[in-house]
């Protein structure tokens, strides 16, 4: 890792192929879209970055929606209701 860093700072400023391949490999495991779409290693860096940004945005949006949904679901939950008991037992 330290080799890569010193190599990067001393050579011309660009993302090395190593980094792109590394990132793509790791992201492929996590991002469903990229993995299914292409099999070649030559996925462009900008494409990968774009997919990553989209994915993060979608995840954040989903957290927001789920918060909204949970807020609505919990709205009428009182302490002794079965829902409360189930949630408690699930989370504890």
């Amino acid at each position: 890792m330290s080799n890569r860093r010193s190599r990067q700072s001393s050579s011309a400023p660009r993302i090395s192929d190593d980094q792109i391949i590394d990132l793509v490999t790791k992201l492929r495991e996590i991002l469903p879209e990229i993995g299914q779409r292409r099999r070649s290693d030559k996925v462009s860096a900008s494409k990968v970055l774009q997919e990553t940004c989209n994915y993060i945005r979608n995840l954040n949006r989903e957290v927001d929606n789920l918060s909204e949904r949970l807020a609505q679901l919990l709205e009428s939950v009182d302490e002794d209701s079965p829902q409360a008991a189930v949630i408690r037992s699930l989370l504890m």
Binding site: M1, R4, R5, Q8, S9, A12, P13, R14, I15, Q19, D22, L23, K26, L27, I30, A45, S46, L49, Q50, T52, C53, Y55, I56, R57, L59, N60, E62, V63, D64, L66, S67, E68, R69, L70, A71, Q72, L73, L74, E75, S81, P82, Q83, V86, I87, L90, L91, M92
Partner: protein, 161 residues
Amino acid sequence: MNTYNMVKQEFIKKWITTLHMLDSSVEHPLNVTERKNAIRLSSDIAMAATRSGATIWSRALISRTRKYTTTCKPVAHRILKKARNRMKNRCTTITRNGIFGAKMRVRKRTELLKSLVPGGELIYDKDYLIRETLDYIVYLQAQVDVMRTVAAIDSVTRDLS
């Protein structure tokens, strides 16, 4: 039990704590929006706390949420304090990424990514940014998975009762 399940387990524990902390500090009754914000806030803090101070994104997220609540301050303080020493030795070397023609797209999207990952704007090293991004995504997924499960259980029991 694999690592991802352990992350989710840890997140659940932390989330219960933050939910209780927030619950005892707000004025009841809450309207839906207030409740939603409280749930979102507690979830984010819990996610960051699960990672604790080992990453930039988790600490940035904690300090970002600090302004919305005073009750979670002790948790935030503990995490930030623990991480301060760890971060002192981290290398954030500035690498100049010149705008050479086709690299413009990559640079633009890197900037976008930096704005999406908490604390990303503080990271200059590309290796570092990529590592933080991958880490952040894993914990985001755990957060989504857990919240999805809780929401599903709640609606199912509601239908049955």
